[in-house]
Every structure is written in C-alpha cells, then in structure tokens.
C-alpha cells in the first residue's frame, strides 16, 4: 500500500511497521504455537493501546476517522511479520462495520465506551463464511420484545476471547437472515476448544452451540444479507491489503536469504533460475501494492464502480499471495519449511486469508452476477 504524500498515512506506515518488526517478529514462532502455547495477550493489549483497533472507526465513536487507506496500511504492515494480529483487527472491524451499516451505532457505542481492555472491545464474527452460502443458519425466535437464538455456528473467530458475538440467524416467516448481538458469557452458550487450523493460529476460532441465548437485533429483520454485502464491498480491499503485506514479508525474507546463502560456490541469487524466481516474486509484490493502493483510492473517494475494484483487488491479490509464498519457501530450500523461519507461516496464512468473507469461486461467481444485473 503506497502511503503517498499524505503525512499522516506515512507516519502510520512507519509506526505500524516498527511495531510489527519489534513486537511481532521476535516472538512469531512462540505465538504461532497457540493453542498449544500461550496466547499473546500483552501484544494484543499493546496494539489496543496504540489505537490499532480504532483506525477505521468514526471519530464520534472514539475512532481515528481515517478511511480505508489507513486501515489497509495498518493491516499490510502487521501482516509483513504476523498476520494473526491483523486477523483479529480485521474480524473485529467487520463486526463494527456491519453494526454501523445496520444503524446500530448506539449499541456499538455502549460496547466501546464500556471497554476497559481489548477483550471487552472485541466482537466475534464467523468471518470466513458468507451466511448465504451455508445452511442451516441459527434460528431466532421472538418472545415478548426479546429474541432467543438456538443452533450451532462453526468457526466463530474471536469466540474464545471476545465478550460479544455478532451472528446471523433466521427468523421464521422472514425471508433472508438477520444479525443479532449476543453475549458469549450467556449460560446457553457452549464453546468448543480453539479449532486447530491451517494459519492465523493466534487469531483463534471456536465452534459454539446456542440454546435459547438472548440476542439483540442489529438492523432490520431479514436485511442481514444487505449489510453483509455492503460490508464486504468495503472490507474486501482490506483483506487484499493483508495478502499484500504477507507478500512483502515473504519476498523480503527470500531476497535477503538468497543474497547470503551459498550453494555451488556462489550466493544463490547469482544463479539465473533463482534470479528468475525472485524477479517473479518482486513483480507480484509490486503489482499487488499498486492494485491495493488504487482500490483504496477508489473506495475512499467513492468512485463509480468502487465496489468492483475492492472485490477484484482481493480476489486477485489473494491468489498472487498464495503463489508468491510458495516460492517464498522454495527460495530458502529446506530451512524455508522450518518453523524457525517466517516463510512457512506466511504460506499458511496466505492460504488461510484467501478464505475470508466466503468461498473464493462463489465470490467470483457473485462478482460476475453483479455485472449481469
């Protein structure tokens, strides 16, 4: 993401990268052990104190009031070293974005104002799923003025560390689904252990079962899909920024390693095939940077077709990241596969992030179907 001439964005760019380098990189291997190792509570708190979680919130909600460009700069720089923290910030922001689109600002404000620690602030969400793609959804029943949710949800991201969750559920006799906010401490909530996953180990997800758990309706009944799609339009470019950050980190590590490692009597970068591999990585990294910057500009300035730009950026850059990180391991040979280096984690995280906001082929189908309307 190119910060350009905007001073605030350039400062943010530098600050976040320093944080990633100093706070995330040294303990990356240790943090990746979760759930078989400790959770990185202190790093999370530091990120919260640095206002990373407030980047995209409007000023009236104690946010920084920056547009999507700032948010992308934040996520990209974090992902250069450890995408798990970016996953947490992204998921929470998705929940907040939906609540704002659903005009439930008062509800969101209560959560933000009451938050003393980062965990009080977080709202869990099944961010790897588009609710229309999966059946069955939770069911919601109205009783007096309250709603009660039952059923099960797989892979609720931040479910083990957040106080709240924003969940899609089906009200009987209402077409479409609705969003509800629940408290995860409700006695009707059964939580699983953190789900062992491919990547983003420290951005934990759990499965939950609900039995008559009280929920607050967020937005209008049956309009869940509208809010989700509008949120997706904006947040796709943020997912692209995460992938672009991983690409930056992977290329940097591969390039530096290949200039130091000797095989056949010379630095491996001086073999022409390695030059070609590194060149392809460098090109992908540069192109992704340009794509994300352009898409952010389109989103922030509400250019015609900005929604398409945001989605196209994500679909393309995420795929490039999966390919680049494969080469990122390959360039380091055997050590690239080992956990003491950052490349294998970037490979896993790139693939993991590709699944954000729904199944890739279905997102592509949706993209062309929108053009058909």
């Amino acid at each position: 993401m190119i910060a350009g001439s905007d001073k605030e964005l350039r400062l943010l760019d530098k600050t976040v990268y320093e944080f990633a380098r100093k706070q995330l990189a040294p303990s990356r291997e240790e943090n990746d052990l979760f759930p078989y190792g400790p959770f990185f509570n202190s790093t999370l708190e530091k990120a919260f104190e640095a206002d990373f979680f407030h980047t995209i919130l409007p000023e009236r909600l104690s946010g920084m009031g920056h547009g999507i460009s700032a948010f992308c700069i934040l996520l990209e720089n974090i992902c250069r070293e450890d995408s798990s923290l970016a996953g947490i910030i992204f998921t929470n922001s998705v929940s907040q974005e939906i609540m704002l689109l659903a005009e439930s600002e008062n509800l969101l404000e209560k959560i933000i104002t009451a938050a003393n620690t980062v965990k009080d602030f977080l709202i869990a969400f099944p961010v790897f799923n588009n609710p229309t793609e999966r059946n069955p959804l939770l069911s919601a029943e109205k009783s007096d003025e309250s709603y009660f949710l039952s059923g099960s949800i797989e892979y609720l991201v931040l479910g083990s560390i957040a106080n709240y969750a924003l969940l899609p559920a089906k009200l009987s006799e209402i077409i479409g689904y609705s969003f509800f906010l629940i408290e995860l401490s409700d006695k009707g909530v059964q939580k699983s252990e953190p789900v062992q996953s491919l990547g983003l180990h420290s951005c934990p997800a759990i499965d939950i079962k609900l039995e008559n758990v009280k929920g607050q309706l967020v937005g209008k009944k049956g309009k869940g899909n509208v809010y989700f799609e509008k949120m997706s339009d904006r947040m796709h470019v943020a997912a692209a920024a995460m992938s672009a950050g991983i690409m930056k980190g992977s290329f940097k590590e591969a390039f530096e390693y290949s200039r130091k490692r000797f095989q056949g009597g010379r630095e491996i970068i001086n073999w022409s095939e390695m030059k070609m591999i590194q060149a392809n990585m460098a090109l992908k990294e540069k192109i992704s940077e340009m794509i994300v910057s352009r898409a952010c500009h389109a989103v922030d300035n509400k250019e015609p077709g900005w929604e398409e730009s945001s989605r196209a950026a994500a679909l393309h850059v995420q795929e490039m990241a999966c390919n680049l990180t494969t080469d990122g391991i390959q360039a380091l040979g055997g050590v690239g596969y080992m956990k003491d280096y950052g490349q294998e984690k970037r490979f896993r995280d790139a693939k993991h992030i590709q699944a954000l906001l729904g199944i890739v082929p279905l997102r592509k189908i949706k993209y062309i179907e929108k053009k058909m309307k």
Partner: protein
C-alpha cells in the same frame, strides 16, 4: 518402405524412441505375476490405511503440534508388525522380495491419507537403495538381516540416508556443484577404518533409525572424487543425535541432525570408497562413479517421491469430491454446478498425469535401472518360487564373498551405459517435479472450494497442503530436478550446452 539402417537412424533422432517409450518396451517383458503381486500390495496398503493410518493421522499431527520432539514409535512398530520394512527387500537379502515398482503404488496409497507415514516407510527404502547402490553385498546382507530380525523380535530396525549438510543441500546431489560447495563431513583414513567428524541435517527418520548410510568425504577440497559411503549404527561411539527439526508438515516423520565427533567406522562397514573402487578395473573416474551411485539411488527415490506427489494430489481430490457431495449452495448440491465439475476434472487430470509419470519412471528403472536384473522373467520367477531355505543355503552364503561384490559392481556399474543412466535419472526427476507440483496445486484447489471448512485440521485437507509442500523441496528441489531433466533428456551430447554455470 524403410530400410533397417534408416529405421535405426530415424528412431535415434530426438525425441529418442528409447527415451519416450519405456512402457511400450517393458510391456511384453513384465512377468505376469508382477501384476497380481502389485494388486496384493495395493490391497494391503488400503487395509493398512483403513486400520492404522486413517484412524491415527490427525491424532499424530496434533501430537506433533503439541510436542515437536515426539517420536512416533507406535506407528513405527505397527509398520514393523505389518512387515513393511522387509516387504521390498529381495529374497536373496532375506526380505519378502515384492517387486520394487509396487512400492510406488503402496506409497501413493498411504500418501493419499498421510504423507508423514508414507515418508516414514519410504525413507527406509531410500536408505536401503543407497546401501544397495554400493553393491557391497556382505554389508547389504548384514543390514538386511538386522531389519528382518527386527521384524521377528518386534524391535523395528530402520535404515536412513545421511547426506545433507548445514551448508550443502542442493550441492550434495550433483557432483558438478559438490566441489564448488562447502561440505564439512570429513572421513579421515586411519588404521582399519575411518574417523568421521562433521554433521548432517534434515535427515528423515534419523532419530528412529538403527542404521544410517552416511556419505562423507576423505578430501573436503575435492569431495566429488573422494566420497566414502559408510554404514553407521546408532549408539556407535562418537555418533549422536542433535536437534529434531520443527517442520510445517510431514511432522510424523522426524527430520534429524546427526553429529559425528571422532566417530570410528571400521573397514567392515565401509560400503564404498570411490578411491579404492577406481583403483580396480572400473572404467569410470571417481567423480563419474560417485555420480553414478547418486544417480542410481535418485532414479529410484525420486520416482518414490513421484508416488508421494500423486498421493497428495489424489488425497486432495478425494477430499474435494467428498466436500462437494455433502455441501449445498443456494439449496443445491455443490457437485451439480458445472464450475465444480470442471475443477474436479482438472484435479482428476492432475492425479492421472502424475501417476503416469511415476509409472513410466518405474518402467525406465525396470529396463535400465539398478533393479533391472530382478525384473528379468527368469530371475523374477526363480526367486519367487525358490523356497527360502534353498536361497539361504545356496545363494546367501555367496553374497559374503568379495567375488559377489565384484560381480554386481561389474554388471551394475561398469557395464551400465551413460544413456541408460540418463534415461532413468531424467525420468525420475521429471516424475518428481511434475507430481509434486500437481500435489501442491490440487491441495490449493481443494482448499479454495472448501473455504472455511478446508481451514480446519479435522477436515484433513489443510494438513495435506502442509505435507505436500515439502515434496517440492526434498530429494532435490524441483528447480534442481528440472535442471536434471534438461541435463539427462534434453541437452543430449550438444557440445554447446554447459550445465551449472549460469
């Protein structure tokens, strides 16, 4: 229409008929019983998958996440109980003598469920193949006897290959790079043996093997001309294990550091000394001999990795089909969408094409490789139907004699044509990079279709991707294997071609 001389000339033109038609040539020569034997091997593999691999695969992987130092002794013992460590050792060396090509089909089957466990068994045969490629029959007999004993007494005896060094990965697999590289595992000639100092890294099965076929060098400045192959037993004075690597995948197969500090190996366990060998009447130089040994091993082992890659591609394909059959989108079954059917067809193609390459590589080895003698019908059927007690009484004792070593080295090394070596080596490399790229590709495609479900460990697919990536790296990176294909099958004798310069 065409004269004999014209025919000969035309089929020698690129692509050479013999290079591209191994399966056609091998067809009529295949002992018919090999087919039945191979079917049996596939059936045994599937049963082993059902009863042992599939129920344990996720548990083992989780255990390794939790404790990266864990060693899978339970599984090692299970595979021993099922007789897998002797299954492909020829009867003359005390094994069960199943045909060597059938090992590939076995590895594909196991690999489609768990590459760790497939690799654990496969790597034992990498050690065995390296040992055999030296043709030192008394040592081969001794080690194989230990493996057979281990099966009888329930104490598994595995053989590993120790070649990679901290500063020499790619370099140790190609003699043209070896002397430019930086190997440090020194075997100093002393009275009655060698004194070894140095270390080896990323050695598959290191911590769980009892014998290690170690490639060291008596002169580190000119390593390619001074290679020494030694059989080192675990527990040998001066030999210890260092760290166990923390890998992204294939966690159930340990990757070990081996440390040698004034480790004495007696002449009794010197499998091959390229200096001593070339003083005999071998027609090749030290360097060429050593490359020949490497090539004959890699021609077999890379075909084995070809089977792993096919297994990975197949496992991913099967998971994707399962998911598409169980999942609804917009109220319709996913598998009924054309785009899904096309993706699955593409994945299926990757599996089939991969399998074809390792099968063709196997045929090349049957015709020209170091186990070709076992594929001759007369030898195959003789060994198959000769009772074990007769083999032990009349053939095995002959293997103790130096004459047996000379005989095998004469026919397997000296009489081997360069063309034949290039064919087997080139096909193995082709299979290796084709199938492993396909394996990783299929895993990525499966995860794309599965979305959120694919990210979960309990759905098995993310583990396949983590495991599959290593296939593109070991047994020579895919880049090195491409260069080997160029060297062996494309460059020919063109005087303008120079390898390993740019």
């Amino acid at each position: 229409m065409i004269s004999r001389s014209e025919l000969k000339k035309l089929i020698q033109r690129e692509p050479k008929f013999d290079d591209i038609m191994c399966s056609l040539q091998m067809g009529p020569k295949i002992p018919k019983a090999m087919i039945g034997e191979t079917k049996k091997v596939v059936a045994i593999a599937r049963k082993f998958n059902d009863e042992v691999v599939s129920p344990y695969v996720l548990e083992l992987d989780s255990k390794m996440h939790e404790d990266p130092e864990f060693l899978p002794w339970d599984f090692v013992e299970q595979a021993n109980k099922w007789g897998f460590y002797t299954m492909w050792i020829p009867k003359i060396f005390g094994g069960k003598g199943y045909n060597f090509p059938s090992l590939s089909y076995f590895l594909e089957e196991i690999g489609s469920v768990c590459l760790s466990m497939a690799n654990l068994i496969g790597v034992h045969y990498l050690g065995f193949a390296t040992l055999t490629a030296t043709w030192h029959t008394p040592i081969i007999k001794k080690l194989c006897n230990d493996v057979a004993q281990g099966e009888k007494n329930g104490l598994p005896c595995l053989i590993s290959l120790a070649t990679t060094e901290p500063d020499a990965g790619t370099d140790v697999e190609e003699v043209e790079l070896l002397d430019k590289g930086s190997v440090t595992c020194h075997a100093k000639r002393v009275n009655y043996g060698y004194l070894v100092n140095g270390s080896k890294v990323f050695i598959s099965n290191g911590h769980i093997s009892q014998w290690h076929i170690l490639i060291a060098y008596s002169n580190l400045e000119k390593a390619s001309e001074n290679a020494v192959v030694l059989a080192v037993k675990s527990g040998n004075k001066g030999f210890s294990f260092g760290r166990q690597e923390h890998k992204m995948g294939q966690k159930g197969c340990p990757a070990s550091e081996l440390i040698f500090k004034d480790c004495f190996i007696s002449d009794e366990y010197v499998c091959l000394d390229s200096n001593q060998l070339s003083k005999g009447k071998q027609k090749r130089s030290n360097k060429e001999l050593f490359m020949q040994v490497l090539d004959s091993v890699l021609a077999v082992s890379r075909a084995g990795v070809g089977a792993f890659g096919t297994g990975a591609a197949r496992g991913a394909f099967e998971q994707a089909v399962k998911f598409a059959l169980e999942t609804e989108v917009d109220g319709k079954l996913m598998i009924n969408f054309e785009w899904v059917q096309c993706v699955l067809a593409e994945m299926y193609k990757n599996v089939i094409v991969s399998r074809l390459t390792y099968v063709e590589s196997n045929y090349a080895n049957c015709l020209y490789g170091f186990y070709k003698i076992l594929q001759k019908k007369v030898v195959f059927y003789s060994l198959k139907f000769t009772p074990i007690f007769l083999i032990k009484k009349f053939i095995s004792p002959l293997l103790e004699k130096p004459l047996a070593t000379s005989f095998f080295r004469k026919i397997q090394m000296d009489m081997l044509k360069d063309e034949a070596m290039h064919r087997t080596s080139g096909w193995a490399s082709l299979s290796k990079f084709t199938t492993t790229d396909a394996g990783v590709k299929n895993c990525q495609m499966a995860l794309e279709i599965m979305g959120q479900a694919g990210l979960r460990h309990d759905k098995r697919t993310e583990k396949l991707l983590r495991d599959a990536k290593l296939l593109q790296i070991y047994e020579g990176t895919n880049q090195l294997n491409r260069l080997n294909v160029f060297k062996c099958l494309i460059a020919g004798k063109n005087p303008k071609v120079v390898m390993f310069e740019e």
